[in-house]
């Protein structure tokens, strides 16, 4: 329950926009953050092979990127990995969130900490660990598509499920346990109660967690780089290899597409995580 402050005016964030230096800081931060990305997008429409001087508007590099088979293959790989790892890590994360929300058990705090470890471990360490792990266990390579992506997919699940778990857990913190008891009291089994009462409440958290996992998987470079082989190139890895020759507008065009997908996903995730107005209290 929110603590009501004495005056309405003092609720919520402080109005900062009247201070000039704060406004300047905000403007500068935005400039630093977004100028490179906006430049990237603008130059994806540049009619020039070299990416330095503006020579007029064109969309031909989007067409060119579209016709680049290896780029499209990498893109398909990325989407496939993202979809599979999202589904699995969301289910896994949701189940962990439910476990942590519902039950008391020994060493719960330790378990909770361990579960969140992939969030804080440096990606490079995760990547090296994954590489070492897969070569140590002799994980099969050279399988037909999409099975050849399974190593990358497993790695992606490993680092994205804690994010899903944390988002779902945060959502469940506001759940009124009497709703669950009311459902049981009215004759529903535990299974019916889960699907009819708990899951509808949990759903925005599950979707938000899933979208988060999706974006994380789609643009992951470091961990993927360590777990991908010559015939399992993902989109970020492919873009990296293209950049090593030269930064052509084709790379810009491909990157722009990725930026757009990521932004759309993030906006959706934030929308679904916003406080639910239909809660009864």
């Amino acid at each position: 329950m929110a603590i009501r402050l004495s005056t309405l005016g003092s609720q919520g964030p402080i109005d900062y926009s009247r201070r000039l230096w704060l406004r300047t800081m905000v403007a500068l931060t935005f400039l630093l953050l977004y100028t490179p990305i906006i430049t990237l997008i603008i130059f994806s429409f540049n009619d020039s092979r070299r990416n330095v001087v503006w020579r007029g508007f064109t969309t031909k590099y989007y067409v060119k990127a579209w016709n680049n088979d290896s780029l499209i293959e990498a893109f398909t790989n990325s989407l496939t990995i993202a979809v599979i790892s999202t589904v699995i890590s969301t289910i896994l994360g949701t189940m962990i969130a439910l476990l942590l929300w519902r039950f008391r058990f020994p060493f719960k705090a330790a378990y909770e900490g361990f579960m969140a470890l992939p969030i804080v471990i440096p990606e490079i360490c995760m990547g090296v660990a994954m590489l070492a792990f897969f070569s140590r266990v002799g994980f099969p390579t050279g399988m037909p598509w999409p099975l050849n992506l399974s190593a990358i997919t497993i790695a992606h699940i490993a680092f994205s499920f804690p994010f899903a778990a944390i988002v779902v857990r945060a959502r469940m913190a506001g759940f009124n346990r009497e709703l669950e008891e009311a459902s049981r009291d009215l004759g529903a089994s535990e299974w019916q109660t889960f699907w009819n009462v708990i899951f509808p409440y949990m759903k925005p958290g599950v979707i938000a967690g899933g979208l988060l996992a999706f974006t994380l998987s789609l643009d992951d470079f470091v961990i993927t780089f360590f777990t991908s082989g010559p015939d399992t190139v993902t989109f970020p890895v492919k873009v990296y290899s293209m950049v090593r020759f030269s930064v052509t507008p084709e790379v810009n065009a491909a990157s722009t597409v990725l930026v757009v997908i990521t932004v759309v996903m993030t906006v959706l995730a934030m929308r679904l995580q916003a406080p639910d107005k239909t809660e009864a209290h």
Binding site: N176, E178, L179, E181, S183, R184, D185, L186, G187, T278
Partner: protein
């Protein structure tokens, strides 16, 4: 009395070291409006939750219709509950909330619709079926919870502090309405409350609980006029508790030396000896300026405090022997309050038979 629908036999519930419910024995009969009354933390809600099946007794058994409920999960018990927070499902409409309990148990749709309509009509929400809970007031949400439980046609309806979240006027109205509803549907109601007015005005019988124990089970008037212990006398209504000492007994009456009052003799049927307590309800005390004549017990004192409630006033009087007594005065005329002032010396008197001897 008709046969018990719920039998609570020697039930104890411990949470670790804490004993929430302590060897409780209770029989609740059919068509009864039963109240579990007690201060917070007395175990009344735990007892209710054990009947509903949300807690398992550590010891003892709970029988519903002569059947031991130990192995029966909440969804299979013939009882339904109205929760303190109402627990109306926020993502369902009012009608869906009410239909929920029928739907999950596989009631045919053709039967659900009329039963839901009937239940909504019973709580006067028939025009609100399509609304979402967040479009309802607190009182209306409670009616939804009520309809949702009643539509299941339970043997027993359980209510956990049903009126505590409502404002005073609405609470009074709902008290009457719940009592009326219980008579209409003719099922057993068990209500948990810490509010004695609620229990007294609605219940047929009340169990007063204190730290896990049931202190007394009786009808409201028995409870008020014949409390069995100091705790019950003090918890139900207002009371003057005076210390006394039994000096002798003759036939059906005992004589007691009451501190600050003197020797009185009052009717008492059981054994009494040693230190006892004597209780007098404030509304049984008369106020006068002159010493009353006749057999009344009378003390003289000074008015020290005055609380005005409109219909009645509450006076606190200190006697020269160090007693502090409270008196309820009916404000019978518009000038009653004008005739008394703080610091006035007055006489308080009551009939010996209005005193109650408490040995516990």
């Amino acid at each position: 009395m008709s046969k018990p629908i719920i039998s609570i036999r020697n039930v104890t519930k411990r949470f670790g070291e804490v004993v929430a419910v302590d060897h409780v024995d209770l029989d609740i009969v059919e068509n009864e409006f039963f109240a579990l009354l007690g201060p917070s933390g007395c175990g009344k809600t735990t007892l209710l939750r054990m009947i509903a099946g949300f807690e398992t007794p550590t010891e003892g058994e709970i029988l519903i219709d002569d059947e031991d409920m130990a192995q029966t999960p909440p969804n299979l018990r013939p009882v339904n509950m109205v929760f303190q927070s109402y627990a109306v499902f926020p993502h369902m409409t009012v009608a869906d909330n009410v239909a929920y309990g029928l739907r999950v148990t596989g009631t045919p749709q053709g039967e659900i619709t009329p039963r839901v309509a009937e239940a909504l009509e019973m709580v006067q929400l028939d025009r609100f079926g399509a609304r979402k809970p967040d479009q309802l007031s607190g009182g209306q949400r409670q009616r939804v919870a009520l309809a949702r439980a009643l539509v299941k046609r339970p043997r027993v309806l359980l209510m956990d502090e049903p009126l505590s979240a409502l404002d005073a006027k609405l609470r009074e109205q709902m008290q009457l309405e719940l009592a009326r509803l219980q008579q209409t549907v003719g099922i057993t109601f068990i209500i948990v409350t810490h509010d004695q007015d609620e229990a007294l005005s609605m219940a047929d019988r009340i169990a007063v609980m204190e730290s896990g124990l049931v202190r007394q089970v009786a009808t409201p008037d028995r409870l008020y006029e014949h409390p069995s212990s100091r705790f019950v006398a003090d918890f139900i209504g207002k009371v003057n508790l005076l210390d006394g000492r039994v000096t002798g007994a003759r036939g059906k009456s005992v004589s007691i030396d009451v501190a600050g009052v003197g020797k009185v003799s009052l009717p008492f049927n059981a054994e009494a000896a040693g230190d006892v307590a004597v209780a007098v309800r404030p509304e049984k005390v008369r106020v006068s300026t002159a010493k009353p004549k006749g057999g009344a017990v009378a003390v003289n004192g000074e008015i020290t405090d005055w609380a005005y409630y409109g219909d009645t006033s509450h006076m606190f009087v200190n006697t020269s022997d160090g007693l502090r007594l409270s008196v309820t005065v009916q404000n019978e005329t518009r000038t009653t309050v004008d005739n008394v002032d703080l610091g006035d010396r007055i006489w308080l008197s009551w009939q010996p038979e209005d005193m109650l001897l408490l040995t516990e």
